[in-house]
């Protein structure tokens, strides 16, 4: 006899889960009558190692890191590709993962947990299944992007809530602090997401969403207004909460502290709209942006500044780009990779593709046409009585 068949299900005295030492109510049922969930991975970050013939994706739905063959036959595949390896399970400590990077020399893959694990986990290329990470580095809450600069031996990690970039040593582990951070009102960082090094030009590039909480100190446990010093209009302008335009911020690779960006690409001509992951083609002097808000990829020339229009835009139904989260460049094969959050796929283009171009190849993590639920840590719900709809935020 199930608890449900009794018509009530409170505080049962038998057949509940083992509770000791928890003294709370024993829990048993009921079972849900319906459940909304996506059984397939949802691509988020992307990292290429052409020499190893591997492409890695972070998967925020099933909480995994998956690896696929980098090469592939031209033409759109209609079948779901089986990953070569999938790192998934409780021991992996992979959670709501966002950015991902690879270290080809060490054959390691780095994945940043965005919410709420507050860690960056590091695995071997060869890891598979429910394995413990090689290293597990504590990072601030709401870390999103990660990028490796092998020559400098440094990892840059973007942190949304801190409005900062933390720079760690390549082998940082456990509670090791950052080597330096970029943080403060002059940085103009506001909800940073994608981060990438430009090794050719000695720069660090950051994509900003523009959400800005402000730098005001909490001096009254919420009992007082959060205004910075009343007399300092300049500080108020820099410090107060607001919605800033989305931007690409370019810093010196050595930047630290309250450093001003060398350049700031920002304004309506940029067409930036929730810029997520970015890729830098230093040799050709181009910056690629996964422009999530309008399902496009924007390409800016090195040196772009201010309200600069993109040099190229890849967008349209033939591209199959849908809520892109990340981009990557394969200089050897002259290809652009785009990881889609919106349609269970990654799409591969010639590096110079623009307009409504069809992809050369498609890597699918689900059968073609599979719906994408798109949940990402749904921590609240509401019911729209007028439309008989369930409202679910990410």
């Amino acid at each position: 006899m199930t608890i449900r068949s009794l018509g009530f299900f409170l505080i049962v005295s038998a057949s509940g889960v083992a509770l000791t030492p928890w003294q709370g109510p024993k829990l048993a049922g009921p079972a849900p009558v319906r459940r909304i969930a996506d059984p397939f991975p949802t691509f988020n970050g992307i990292a290429l190692d052409p020499a190893a013939d591997l492409v890695f994706f972070s998967d925020t739905n099933l909480k995994s890191v998956v690896a696929y063959p980098h090469s592939g036959a031209p033409g759109a595949s209609s079948a779901a590709g089986k990953p070569l390896r999938a790192i998934r399970g409780r021991d992996t400590d992979i959670g709501f993962v966002a950015g991902i990077a690879v270290d080809p020399a060490a054959r390691e893959v780095f994945a940043v947990n965005n919410d709420i694990e507050d860690t960056m986990v590091v695995f071997s290329y060869d890891d598979h299944g429910n394995v413990r990470p090689r290293r597990r580095l504590a990072v601030p809450h709401q870390a999103w992007g990660v990028a490796l600069e092998p020559k400098r031996g440094e990892l840059a990690v973007s942190v949304q809530g801190f409005n900062s970039i933390m720079v760690y040593g390549r082998k940082a582990d456990a509670l090791e602090p950052p080597l330096r951070s970029i943080r403060g009102p002059e940085t103009q960082l506001a909800d940073p997401h994608g981060v990438q090094w430009d090794g050719v030009n000695g720069e660090l590039v950051v994509a900003n969403h523009g959400n800005f909480r402000g730098f005001a100190r909490n001096i009254g446990a919420g009992c007082v207004p959060v205004t910075p010093r009343e007399s300092d209009d300049a500080e108020r302008e820099h410090s107060g909460p607001g919605f800033r335009p989305p931007s690409l911020n370019f810093y010196s690779a050595d930047a630290k502290g309250n450093a001003k960006p060398r350049r700031l690409v920002e304004g309506p001509r940029t067409r930036l709209d929730w810029p997520m992951g970015i890729a830098v083609d230093g040799a050709r002097g181009e910056v690629f942006v996964a422009n999530n808000g309008d399902s496009s990829v924007l390409v800016f020339r090195h040196g772009a500044d201010g309200d600069a229009a993109p040099a190229r835009i890849l967008r349209g139904p033939r591209t199959q780009i849908d809520r892109p989260m990340a981009v990557a460049i394969d200089a050897e094969r002259d290809e652009l990779w785009v990881a889609n959050f919106g349609n269970h796929s990654a799409v591969v283009f010639p590096r110079n593709a623009e307009g409504d171009a069809a992809p050369k190849r498609v890597v699918r993590n689900a059968p073609e046409g599979s719906p994408t639920v798109g949940f990402g840590n749904p921590q609240a719900l509401a019911y729209d009585t007028k439309r008989d709809e369930l409202l679910v935020p990410n």
Binding site: F96, R213, P241, P371, G374, P393
Partner: protein, 294 residues
């Protein structure tokens, strides 16, 4: 999370499917990981916080795509620092806001817009507010229930300033562990997503991990204490077990954080961060006349 948005699904949705509509895009001014959400059936509006911009956004009920909010509460006078939860008191035409980092509960007129001061602000050490993530008003009893760090604190609806709660629901028999999350009140009953996960912040705003930590904190979702949805009378107090619970292996819930309901359908909706899923339970008993404990 990575894809900021509000997605709308048919209540009858089941399985893996696309949302009917999505609010997303730069113009929406949404941010990551929305911890609170409320629908206003009287004025057909959606209220949602953006903690990264210290703002409260109000959308039309039928908003879709890159829709802009019709009203925004933001600015130094608002006292908003890190608002994570919202709810509505439509009897008194007010928006309730829980601020997680400021440890406060703020109340605004429903039609507030811009840099406006709250009409009431619960805050200060006597309130015991800490890590506020859920709150709701019961107009019938004129009580305000707030999910704090490890308990539910009960205030008079009109309490203001640094005042102590009139009661609390807390203790081992309640089952409420760390970080109870979304909280709703319906028919004199509190519905609480007792998530029971402990998020330890190795970095507390500085550039270095806190020296108190000797090792990396464990994954909060690996907390061995199971979460559940618990139901109490709003007049309950002390170490009272819930009237009802939804949890355990059969429920598929691990650490539930979101809770809402369709009363006339007898359905309860629950989200869970471990499974990244929303489960729908048919539990008309929970919406029956309140009062007596079973």
């Amino acid at each position: 999370m990575s894809q900021p948005r509000i997605a709308a699904f048919a209540r009858s949705a089941d399985g893996s499917l696309q949302p009917k509509r999505v609010i997303a895009g730069q113009g929406s001014r949404l941010g990551r990981t929305v911890h609170g959400l409320a629908y206003d059936p009287v004025h057909d509006e959606i209220v949602v916080p953006n903690p990264l911009a210290a703002a409260i956004l109000v959308f039309r009920g039928d908003a879709s795509g890159d829709a802009a909010p019709v009203r925004v509460i933001q600015g130094p006078r608002t006292r908003l620092q890190n608002p994570h939860s919202v709810n509505l008191d439509l009897v008194h035409d007010e928006i309730l806001v829980g601020d997680l980092r400021a440890d406060s509960a703020l109340v605004f007129p429903r039609e507030a817009h811009g840099d406006v001061a709250p009409v009431r602000a619960l805050c200060g050490p006597r309130t015991r507010l800490d890590h506020v993530t859920g709150l709701a008003v019961d107009p019938a009893t004129d009580l305000l229930a707030i999910a704090a760090a490890k308990e539910v604190l009960i205030f008079k609806r009109t309490d203001d300033g640094d005042v102590p709660p009139r009661a609390s629901i807390e203790g081992p028999h309640t089952g409420i562990g760390h970080e109870p999350w979304q909280l709703q009140i319906q028919g004199g009953r509190i519905f609480l997503a007792a998530s029971n996960h402990l998020h330890q912040w190795a970095y507390q705003g500085g550039d270095h991990p806190l020296p108190d930590f000797k090792e990396v904190p464990p994954d909060p979702w690996h907390d061995p204490t199971p979460g559940f949805v618990g139901v109490w009378n709003v007049t309950d107090e002390g170490d009272r077990p819930p009237l009802f619970t939804i949890g355990g292996p059969e429920s598929g819930l691990f650490h539930p954080t979101g809770v809402a309901f369709a009363v006339d359908k007898g359905e309860l909706f629950v989200s869970d961060s471990v499974t990244n899923a929303v489960s729908i339970f048919r539990v008309p008993q929970l919406f029956a006349a309140p009062g007596k404990r079973p």
